[in-house]
Symmetry: C2
Subunit: 583 residues, 2 copies
Amino acid sequence: MILDKVNSPEDLKKLSVEEMNTLADEMRELIIKKVNTTGGHMGPNLGIIEATVAMHYVFNSPVDKIVFDVSHQCYPHKILTGRKEGFTDPDKYHKYTGYTAPEESEHDIFKVGHTSTSVSLAAGLAKARDLKGEKSNVIALIGDGSLSGGEAFEGLDNAADLNSNIIVVVNDNDMSIAENHGGLYRNLKELRETKGKAECNFFKSLGFDYLYVDEGNNIEKLIEAFQKVKDTNHPVVVHLHTIKGHGLAAAEDNKEAFHWILPGTLDEKPSVPSVQTEDYNSVTNEFIMRKAKENPSLVVVNPATPGVHGFTPDFREKMGKQYTDVGIAEEHAVAYCSALAKAGAKPVLAIMTSFVQRTYDQLSQDLCLNNSPVTMLVYWGGLSSGDATHLGSFDIPLISNIPNIVYLAPTNKEEYLAMLEYSYSQNEHPVAIRVPNVPLVSTGVEDKTDYSILNKFKVEEKGSKVAILGLGNFFSLAKEVKQEIKQKLNIDATLINPRFMTGVDEELLENLKKDHDIVITLEDGVIDGGFGEKITRFYGNSNMKVLNFGGKKEFTDRVPIDELYRRYHLTKELITDDVKNCL
Amino acid sequence: MILDKVNSPEDLKKLSVEEMNTLADEMRELIIKKVNTTGGHMGPNLGIIEATVAMHYVFNSPVDKIVFDVSHQCYPHKILTGRKEGFTDPDKYHKYTGYTAPEESEHDIFKVGHTSTSVSLAAGLAKARDLKGEKSNVIALIGDGSLSGGEAFEGLDNAADLNSNIIVVVNDNDMSIAENHGGLYRNLKELRETKGKAECNFFKSLGFDYLYVDEGNNIEKLIEAFQKVKDTNHPVVVHLHTIKGHGLAAAEDNKEAFHWILPGTLDEKPSVPSVQTEDYNSVTNEFIMRKAKENPSLVVVNPATPGVHGFTPDFREKMGKQYTDVGIAEEHAVAYCSALAKAGAKPVLAIMTSFVQRTYDQLSQDLCLNNSPVTMLVYWGGLSSGDATHLGSFDIPLISNIPNIVYLAPTNKEEYLAMLEYSYSQNEHPVAIRVPNVPLVSTGVEDKTDYSILNKFKVEEKGSKVAILGLGNFFSLAKEVKQEIKQKLNIDATLINPRFMTGVDEELLENLKKDHDIVITLEDGVIDGGFGEKITRFYGNSNMKVLNFGGKKEFTDRVPIDELYRRYHLTKELITDDVKNCL
């Protein structure tokens, strides 16, 4: 294998183009095998192998600095920068993260997992270089999908003003996670079709010099292009036309499905339609379809993550004009929904917890200050064993401390449906619902709660001495804790399902004072600024003891969930011990 | 006066162009007089009078909908839509807000005060219109300065895809609050210089049809242009070349100074240099200048609000390459600073509380996850009598619940300088400092605290029974409360200056348990998710009573500060009463 000789970018520079082509094939095979084993980003990595080889051949990392946008296309880079064992040795498949990670290598500058940040980051590196009088190339590698994010535009607009070396490599495979959306993509298409010659050019309009590479998977052509721009003294865009999933037929043919795959995807036999299991996505999407038929002004808005929500191509087609993928543009999505609601339409915004973070100001100003009745569905909220870049544990502090919005935490299917119905039919407030991130629970009994009576907690089982507030995902843990407390402490605890995260049920909390000494709160997210602290504050001037359970304010990185639960005392045994110590 | 006949846009439609010109002159005079009396946005409003008259002449508001970006240019619109008394009658100068306000008029669709949102909002209105099968024109009016904000780009990119009526009127006066920054502005310049004929056109690259109006302050030409695009069936940009401050020589000549003016600015005699009073801005800027001379890699980064920070044209010139105005691009500003710090430069980011809201995800992902040693100075934090769109009371929950960052609240000049020095010289964490939003206090004694020992609160006066934690701006209130408690309750309370907002001093809080029964926290911001709740949580399992004082989670709109203080029990008397009731 050629790869045996390559342990760093330096080794690459000794290879011929022919050898590099062979190397690219070897890398492709390794990536396919590894990703098919562990799951991960397939299409983005296969499309960028040649460009990565060419970049490391031409530039001198880490003196020259390459910033990977969103960095889910960094596997070839990792292979070439001393981490190939993560791809050659199945025992080490999990050793390296799926994103750039400075703790792994000096060739990774930033920990990155959200899109559209690379140009801003590269601009900062370039400015620092200039201030310090150093010499180097600074390269941002950004996909066409990421260009729709506002931060990318802000970065480009500013980078163009640097009057110094900065190279923005646009990896244009004509895809986001799903298809692209936005006027910009017509210009990219025109540029591809004219081989970069179209007069009207988005990048030039921002002041960039511009170079087009039609064969973005051809190492020789790529080397030629990168050599042209190396050591440039001004901002330049190198626009690569690449093929997402390059070299793997299944991935080239099914670009959306192969953006990120589950383990074993390539091994599966032609699938016979399996029995559809009901889950919170299917419940959501059935609700949406039903309402959409009744009301032509219902519209689902999603910022480029249809797969997360089960918005399959079939679902999207059926929804037609009532489905809007705004591209990676979360800020726009929130403002857009606010206006839709103000004009009497019925927007349903589906968004991941990790990406709702991009919209604080829009939630505050565009949505909540205007009190627009938008339904916002927040997915994947909760502590997780995920990558530090995609944690879903900060949404409660983020959302629930903004005025006017109602943030709900259902604990079963029937509650969730009732909350959806409430949100959909009211015109008073923005309503966000944290879609349960646990297997579906059904009580079989319709929930007839009137959720327009805000901040009304539900007493599920009345007891005394200890009250357990089990929020959303953690309601089942609360039930376990109740049993454990009964068993170990012989106390019949009161079990409460708060349902509302944006306020407290003062009457209920007041009543608890009569025959309870301890209240415990359980929330599936960081405690700081979250739900439990509101309860604690309520009892601040009383004799009630309050224990808040949830995550610590920290970025965790691929820590097994059981370990996190132990660390945060989120097991029935540890909680019961803490209660015992407090009695 | 022509204006006597105009009470709504309908009345306008009966006028001749000549009469409208006279009307514009009358409006100009009223705006100059009113703004010079009350203070407010002068330049933006003077530049847009003619376009507003022409828009209301051609379009049929409120059926046709006009969305004002940032809306600090809505005074002419207010005059024409039934609110002229707010400009003709000095007694009613304060009756209407300086921003669009749906509660005032059906011609105002949104409450808006942050930039770059208008196109997204207009796109939502247009989409709702189409879903409901209605007919109308939807117009976004956006200034060139606002175009640098990422949300504006996201909006444009999506609006271009609507395949339906949406008209984006670009009010290009070649200025932001200060001068513009970004590559985009070279394209706007080229478009102005070629009368809109340049082939490379930012708006066209996004898929918009495009119309250029060179005389953007000529009502006749404007009417002609708007008539051309009225009832268009596709997205179109109307690019107006206007003059900021049009018709007021002082404003035309001093565009930055007259963007927003203090009352009486026009009345003042040619100023003799007054004695410079020391304030937190001057202290900051002296510190910066001193460090910048020592270290060429110190760089001040500011998103387009130099006036807020006292970054005068003179200061900016002296700083040279060590000052970067990134334009209205807060997201970029944070990521850019993170990269500057990673590359060993010394970025100092100056940003207003209200606008730091636009950067939650960048603070989390680009800055804190990467633990980059940026110094972020947060201005104008605290409860205020300001407009609902510019409140500074949400920053503590926003910033202090993100991991890794250190958020500091100085209470006097010496502390502030020591914190600046600490932040500047360390390389461990992002550090944010809430620049005091109160008159400067100086102890005259150098603060030698080692702030690298995190979360160490300072006991200013040791007492017993009651401990008062007075954070930042509210430290002086805490001192008053201590006196009041002594006087009314004969208790020598302990007075504590927490200084850190991102964590608690567990040792100190633990010690207080020995001889204290009540802890009270005072913070100048909303309580929800803020500093006080962290203290309350700490004491949750103890007998300590804790009372949290601060703002309620609500949007307040120009409520006098004294009224807010009474509402929230933020006076020494009310706090002492609450303490008494708790004893």
